[in-house]
């Protein structure tokens, strides 16, 4: 009898801890939605800011577009580099270069993103001025280790037997990688990319020095690009007026909505892993 009570108590404790772990996301979402929803309107999403001070109107379309510009640049640089590095790390375990690359990727992941921003500032921004391109480069450096690590794990999770099936037919190393390993792990690679893009989008630190700020719509990647994390920061701290605070909250809600939709997207794809496993599951 006593043992049963203990077991029940332990079960309740586990449930409690589980709920506790899920709690922050609900608090954050509820808080951001509650505070930000009043700021959202059609103009807020589609127009650039008009007027100054108390009389400001219009929206944050410039920051949404700026974020898109920066992320396009970051994706074009960060995703191919990350996927290639991840493919290398999953395939070439025996080479001497392997440990060097593995460690440097690990180290890159450990570098605080504000330092990444500073380095890009010193090497690039002093020549180009703050612009969407420089912001994209800094976010690409933040994304790359995330993408390469998730790619490595995704490719390594393709069972060796499936790759051997390709080798046994006479496929060469790159053919097995391109025809079999990457397609078989395709969805998991994509999940990692989507999560990395979502994470990078919310990064404020590397953007501070590199992407710049303007109240106007960026026209090309060489223009300064206001981004959502940046205007949240600026509006909330440097414009001490309620009208700007409200804009910061609205921008937070939009950024959160975009980020969470990326997470949602990646979750929907995650089931694929089980299908690959299932195919080999006979008699195990």
């Amino acid at each position: 009898m006593e043992r049963r009570n203990k077991e029940r108590a332990f079960g309740i404790l586990l449930k409690l801890l589980g709920t506790l772990a899920a709690l922050p996301i609900f608090i954050i979402v509820a808080f951001v939605v509650y505070n930000g929803i009043r700021a959202i309107s059609r103009d807020f999403i589609t127009k650039t800011p008009q007027g100054f001070g108390e009389n400001v109107s219009g929206g944050i379309a410039h920051a949404i577009v700026g974020t898109v510009f920066v992320m396009i640049v970051a994706s074009f640089i960060g995703i191919p580099l990350g996927v290639l590095t991840g493919a290398y790390l999953s395939e070439r375990k025996e080479s001497k270069l392997y440990r060097f690359v593995e460690r440097s990727v690990g180290a890159l992941m450990g570098i605080p993103s504000v330092v990444v921003g500073l380095v890009v500032y010193l090497l690039l921004v002093v020549h180009t001025g703050p612009c969407a391109f420089a912001g994209g480069v800094s976010l690409a450096l933040v994304m790359r280790p995330m993408v390469s690590e998730s790619t490595r794990v995704a490719l390594a999770s393709v069972p060796q037997e499936i790759k051997e099936g390709g080798f046994a037919l006479g496929a060469k190393r790159h053919q097995v990688l391109v025809d079999i390993t990457i397609p078989a792990a395709r969805k998991n690679v994509l999940v990692g990319i989507v999560l990395a893009v979502g994470r990078a989008m919310g990064e404020a630190a590397p953007i501070l020095f590199t992407a710049g700020y303007a109240d106007a719509m960026p026209r090309s990647v060489r223009d300064p690009a206001p981004t959502l994390p940046y205007i949240i920061y600026v509006y909330a701290l440097y414009y001490p007026r309620d009208v700007y605070r409200l804009r910061a909250r609205g921008a937070s809600l939009i950024l959160l909505a975009i980020s969470l939709s990326f997470v949602y997207l990646s979750r929907r794809w995650r089931y694929e892993r089980y299908r690959i496993r299932k195919i080999l599951s006979v008699g195990r």
């Binding site: 375990k93 025996e94 069972p159 037997e161 499936i162 051997e164 099936g165 390709g166 080798f167 046994a168 037919l169 006479g170 496929a171 060469k172 053919q175 025809d179 079999i180 397609p183 078989a184 395709r186 299908r275 690959i276 299932k278 195919i279 080999l280 006979v282 008699g283 195990r284």
Partner: protein
Amino acid sequence: MNVIEFVRYSAWVGNKRILHEIDLPIKKNAINAIIGPSGSGKTTLIRSINRLMELVPGYRYEGDILLEGTSIFELDVYDLRRRVGMVFQHPNPFPHMSIYENVAYGIRLHRLARSKREEFERVKKALEMAALWEEVKDRLDEKPGRLSGGQKQRLVIARALAVEPEVLLMDEPTASLDPKATTRIESLMKELSKEVTIVLVTHNMAQAARVSDYTAFIYMGRLIEHGPTREIFERPKRPETEAFLRGKI
């Protein structure tokens, strides 16, 4: 006639010696079984024939393996693996390709078909040889995920046959299958051995006795005895073979 001949072949992985100076002929258009307890080197032996061992870090060898009189180590590995197909212990169809594409993959890899029509004919022929055509002809575009274990194994047999190999290596091909599927694969092997030389690794002695024409017994990396299956099972010459057949090793 011997399709394959091991000549004083030894293999190491790192410092560990797996095989000791194996001299073994593999007979043409027959089922050549390799039996022995776990860890005796059967898998290393069979994976040496298509040089799949070269994927294992630290592998090295001495001696030679001849395919139709030519050293396999002098052949282009890509051609070698077209001539020597392989079926694995667990059915391993490519999960992202359709049933058709699985079989067509080797044909495309080796550019064996000049037209879509010819490719289809080859795929069909391979599936027929593997006794799978009737079951999958209406679902060639489906992924192999929903096939049964036995069907998946026949699919990868078809995939291997599609490039018209001279030799088919089978590494415990029924180890993960139920008895009914096992019986099907065994009768398929018998059928196939009329056209293709089969090297069958198995730890199931009853299977070796049922299907094979020749049997080689490997123990602790050494070839103990080989010959026609009936002789090995009925009149083993070496005490180790007899001990193994009686379940004492």
